[in-house]
Symmetry: C2
Subunit: 352 residues, 2 copies
């Protein structure tokens, strides 16, 4: 998978502007923190891990913009940039995790007397976080690949692919790894209203990778399950609470209920940075509400009456009891998730 | 509700072109059977009862086009027009029911010696069928109104409103009648991909009627149920088998599964012409598959990769066991539906 969702080269930050896909695959430059904030807010870059990586580079760009000469100025620039970027989107915890990592790295970097050395040290952290994500995705794929058997039908919702991460993805990493192991299977991609990440991104990405993919409207998911065409569901996550309750793109909860009703196992795939053990359960996860216009004029043309009331939450929370397993870089977590997640967060390993 | 979905005046057939809604509410003239066929096929007129009415007038227009001088020519023109219109859409049984009624009326009309008298008799049947639908819709509303209590949240899918019938609707008739009885409630309208009948038609129609309506993407239905905001679901139907299995717009089955999982009663509203007692169950209902382009470029802009595989069934079948009741013009049918539907079809009444 050759997609470079996020690029940092010679001090220049570039991202694929995902709002232009699938018609145009173009990298745009984000030259200041405001541009990074806007890119995250308007979903030019999206997907919990990718948001985290982009925000880490955003801190870099924000600090550089302020040209801090002193250590104090450096720390202020760091805090301001991170706090500002934290306001871009509320649900994905990877955003806050990445910003925290940059702040901690910045505290160490501040020890350097030379401004260039301080910046270089901060830059190393962002690059390390970016590279680490590649490894996490590969490991998730490796651990999850066995879930997909020859001839299976796999349903996914939204895009938890290379475009949602550094490369390779989380839910789609499982598919890419199963493909590398030589298995053939068919993916049904929910188009994922209102912003059609499934149609625009997942269908595009899987086809580019040579995986058999069929696009369906969100409301066809129940029907393909009923027809016996789905053997498992795999989705990504934006935040996972200590008990396993999982926030992901709106519609995921419904898919999980439908999978349960049809006896189909429902899996979540996510790296450790998506877990938020500070939250006991999903009730405490903040859910972003987005503009009505995403629903009423998302296709260019007005598709609903002007000024109509719209309820447009960007995410929902799937209760842990509907989740068969959580595929992480350390293995597949199983119920009871309170224990398996606790064990992983404490570094006890052995989760497979 | 002043919407005139279908008009027949001075021998001119007009329909609201529903593909232009909500931006433009315009009547277009259908001057020959081919225009009627195209209008049904491309959903300028849609909704099982409205398709039936339009097809009845289509037979009239088709017979007139052929200017049959003899009784034999009249019967041929009748059969040809009806057979042709029957190929427009396969799922809604009201279409075939209306065509059968016109054929039977035509057999009687053929007894007239004067061509104008033959035509006038056929015309009376179409007009009667049209007027009858108004009465059916009012009666459905009356019988179903009590299902909606003060303060309820009601979810509906697609459009089973005035635009789907002569006026007033089936599922929406229940809401209009509850409103007339002075109750306040909130409707959540699924937008209903791919053709957005919920967003374009239901939201528009309910707002015009002064009913509190909130538009949601299809994949938000599970979430509003989980939030406790839905007390009942009411939808229309395209065909109901002898055991109560109900074909309706794609996505209805999923809504029914979700309602069941949340303990929310799920109702179907439909007149007798939607029942097909010749089919023992839903497995025998033919499901129309429609073009990929409805999904990939439905609203102007390309929203999926060119040539991507798409599965786009127009309908699905909800099993009777997920249905709390079927609101008909004779009352609310309850399980066991085999008996209550059989009783209604045999004219035994007493279904309330």
């Amino acid at each position: 998978v050759a997609i470079e969702t996020i690029l940092w080269k010679g001090g220049v930050l570039q991202i694929i502007d995902q709002t232009l896909l699938p018609e145009t695959c173009r990298h745009i430059e984000l030259s200041d923190a405001a541009a990074v904030w806007e890119a995250i807010k308007s979903l030019r870059v999206r997907g919990a891990p990718a948001i985290g990586i982009c925000a880490a580079y955003g801190v870099l760009v924000g600090v550089r913009e302020r040209q801090p000469a002193t250590q104090q100025a450096f720390l202020s620039a760091l805090a301001e940039s991170a706090d500002y970027l934290a306001t871009s989107r509320p649900t994905a915890v990877n955003l806050f995790w990445a910003l925290d990592r940059m702040k901690c790295a910045g505290l160490e970097a501040a020890a350097e007397l030379d401004p260039a050395a301080r910046f270089a040290r901060l830059e190393r952290e962002a690059v390390a976080l970016h590279e680490e994500d590649r490894q996490l995705c590969r490991a998730i794929g490796k651990h999850g690949a066995g879930l997909i058997r020859e001839g299976d039908g796999v349903l996914t919702h939204c895009n938890a692919g290379g475009l949602a991460t550094s490369a390779y993805g989380t839910a789609l990493a499982v598919m890419y790894a199963a493909q590398e192991q030589g298995r053939r299977f068919r993916v049904f991609a929910d188009e994922t209203r209102p912003l059609l990440q499934g149609a625009r991104l997942t269908a595009w990405e899987l086809r580019e990778a040579g995986i058999d993919v069929t696009l369906i409207c969100d409301n066809v998911a129940a029907q393909v399950m009923k027809e016996g065409r789905i053997q498992l569901v795999v989705v990504g996550a934006d935040r996972i609470a200590a008990n396993g309750d999982t926030a992901n793109k709106i519609g995921t909860y419904g898919v999980a209920v439908l999978a349960h009703a049809h006896g189909i196992p429902f899996y979540v795939a996510a790296p450790y940075s998506t877990f938020d053990p500070s939250l006991p359960d999903g009730a405490a996860i903040p859910i972003e509400l987005r503009d009505a216009e995403e629903v009423t004029r998302g296709f260019g043309r007005n598709t609903a009456p002007d000024g109509i009331a719209v309820y447009n939450p960007a995410f929902d929370v799937t209760p842990a009891e509907l989740i068969a397993g959580i595929v992480t870089e350390q293995g597949v977590l199983r119920a009871p998730f309170g224990e398996s997640i606790g064990g992983m967060c404490r570094g006890e390993g052995g989760v497979l």
